[in-house]
Amino acid sequence: MQYNSLLYLLVFLPVVMLLYQLLPQKHRWKLLLAASYVFFFLLSRKLIIYLLFSTGCMHYIGLWLNTCDRDLEDFRGAEDFHTQKELTARKKRGILWLGVAAQIGVLLLLKYFNFVSGNLNILLSKMSLSFTFPTLKLSVPIGISFFTMQAVSYIVDVYKKKTPADRNLWRLALYMAFFPSIMEGPICRYSETAEALYAGERLTYHNITFGSQRIVWGLFKKVVLADRLSPLVELVFSKYTQYGGITVLLGAICYTLQLYADFSGCIDMTIGTAEMFGVRLPENFRQPFFSRTASEFWRRWHITLGAWFKDYIFYPLSLTKWIKSMGKKARLKFGRHVGPVIQTIVPLLAVWLSNGIWHGTGWNYIFFGLYYFVLILTGNLLEPLIGKSTDLLHVSRKSIGWRAIQTVKMFCIIVTGELFFKAASLAAGFAMIKSIFTAFDLSALSNGSLLNLNLSVKDFLVVAVGYLVVLAVGIVHEKGIHIRQQVGSWPLALRWSFYYAAVLLVFIFGAYGGSYAPVDPLYASF
């Protein structure tokens, strides 16, 4: 059930809201849990077993970890307390790894087994060996990449005592399965979300209107902009051998814009829905195309994913003894700038490989991850050189011109990355990149060929105006202005006219029905 479908917006969500409001406060979270499981079951049917396993596993691992801490307290003051402390630490580490392995293991099996076995078989056949690894027929439940990460973050946070284990299995189940965020995130932390989920705050006029506005904004981005670009993107990427030059470049740019509008639009609907129930979910986007460096981009795009990798892969790896020792040696040998950068190589590589693999099974996704690894590492290494160069040329890095150049440069880098992300394969990606240059012909801008890509002049116009609106909203948000609050302070008639106009814009200019093929949320397949 898509968040932009009438079935969700006019049937499922209103029914859940009505029942929620009718129930006593202490039972409301149970209604959310039931609705979440119904939602999940409708989408993934018997694959709900994986969600149940993941939830049950994290619950009992969490309790086990807490039990270890409690048992250790019995030895406080005893002679062998330190010995027991070490034994407990070792035991907890074992439990942690067991819990993480169970969660990640299921994800790896369902999503990556066939990719790995397929590639091993290619290697074996190149070595003329007759043995082949089997290919399994595996179905993947919706949101598994997202809820697995939530499960791992919970287990690690309990291990580090950042949050106590929840003794109530069903409250954990709600944290894992909460229906607005199960499909595409954002990836929530238990300590930040749990309390609001279980609070059972009643529905208020403020929450409903603010939440609805966020949903309409998300619908605008998803249905008017993203879905409108889909036919062009699908055509260019599926028949890339027939196109080149500006057409392929246009396809890549349109895909980048489509992906942003689709994903951030769905997140807006997710956050808006949760807001209606008084639950604040973390933001996942912060004007990513305003970024000037690759590092900044990943602090603005899919924010919760980047934060997860930082907290659960980058920092833990960086703080290991052998990485710290490597860093010390590198500092002595290569100096105070390059040394620390070298120290980050392994953690960064782990993060970006994981990022690429998390997104999908294909060499193009691994390339996507390594692409950003190289960019970020190179950026970090060259930072002093860039600083010296700009000083030498008397260029202020705070000037509008410099910032504009950096932003445009970064946009080109993003589009290149997304081209590989969307391409049918790594080879297809390289072929498309090559064709941009080898078949570049400016006449495509005037000979009408760009209007034979399933988008009419009016479609392009809607897209152009729509993204200008998105840009304007982004600029306002960048200045820290809260648009919904501003609109909320307008006179009643003006305010409601604005709201109705927004809804009508989506109704009229949405790319749905008729000859438009339905477009599933792009990130729901990850």
């Binding site: 059930m1 479908s5 009438l6 079935l7 409708l42 027939q242 109705y500 109704f507 009229i508 093929a517």
Partner: protein
């Protein structure tokens, strides 16, 4: 909410289908004698303009890429509000297209909502009265000359060899496809429309077991079923030239062969009228010239 519903209902009056939309809504009410329903196997394999030229038959290809049976039914039901065809051809591949109940529920919801607030169904009509100075009427007319047919002149051969192997296995038409197929059958019966099931030559989608399932269904319901996969030599199929995607769909050359065969079938088995020379259909001659231009651009 009430105000919003009132606004939507009011705007629904404005957003009624008009011409130049290069869709079936562009056809004059009551003008079409046959319709062709189906998914991409349908819309890429049947070109109505050929039947106009050969027999003077007027019809429209209502096939839609990735269409599901329930959408074919809803679209057909809506089309019958303005058309009264005598014959409907249903390309039966969508009887076996997998789908889940959620998509069906979503489609049902959309259809119901569209019946109440027609703005939802015809919202795209804004293209016909906003910024009309940007319209390339000639391009729209050329697009409309296809009469719903979508094609490619490319050739990417199917090289899998013979795919027709007789078997007694039967692939049943599963729910909910069967329910919606029954609804189409009933709708045709209630409106005095002759329904003909057919299968386009399609090595990648077709199977003998599916043929058996469809043949059984057709027999149970007293329907004709023309399976072109078993008539490839009569149709003249050449898989080295007649497909643009390795046998998933036929290209323009393949579609001309399929249409010619089905046209002959309709000529022999139905009483579709010949409208050539009929002043009310003079526009079809003009459209046919545009159609010839379209074909020439694709190399024919």
């Amino acid at each position: 909410m009430v105000v919003l519903v009132l606004i939507l209902t009011g705007l629904s009056v404005v957003f009624r289908p008009k011409s130049t939309s290069a869709s079936i809504d562009d056809e004059d009410a009551g003008s079409l004698d046959y319709l062709v329903l189906g998914d991409s196997e349908c819309c890429t394999s049947f070109t109505p303009m050929e039947l106009w030229n050969q027999y003077g038959y007027v019809g429209y290809n209502c096939g839609v890429f990735a269409q599901r049976m329930q959408n074919a039914y809803y679209g057909f039901e809506t089309t019958l509000e303005s058309q009264a065809p005598k014959v409907v051809l249903l390309e039966a591949n969508l009887a076996f297209t997998n789908q889940n109940n959620i998509r069906i529920a979503q489609n049902a919801c959309d259809h119901l909502f569209g019946n109440v607030i027609s703005l939802y169904r015809y919202h795209n009509e804004w293209q016909n009265f906003l910024l009309t100075q940007l319209d390339d009427k000639h391009a729209a007319a050329k697009k409309n000359a296809w009469k719903g047919f979508h094609t490619s002149g490319q050739v990417t051969p199917y090289t899998g060899g013979n795919y027709v192997t007789a078997t007694d296995t039967v692939t049943q038409i599963a729910e909910p496809q069967r329910t919606y197929l029954d609804k189409i059958v009933e709708l045709c019966r209630n409106n005095g429309i002759e329904l003909i099931l057919y299968s386009v030559p399609a090595p990648r989608d077709w199977s003998y077991a599916k043929h058996n399932g469809l043949a059984a269904y057709a027999s149970e319901n007293g329907l004709a079923y023309v399976d072109l996969n078993l008539l490839q030599s009569e149709v003249g199929m050449d898989w080295s030239k007649d497909t643009y995607d390795k046998g998933d769909h036929v290209n323009l050359v393949g579609a001309l062969k399929v249409t010619t065969y089905l046209g002959a079938y309709l000529h022999s088995n139905t009483k579709l009228p010949d409208h050539r020379g009929d002043m009310a259909y003079a526009d079809w001659d003009a459209k046919y010239q545009l159609y010839l231009g379209n074909k020439k651009k694709l190399g024919l």
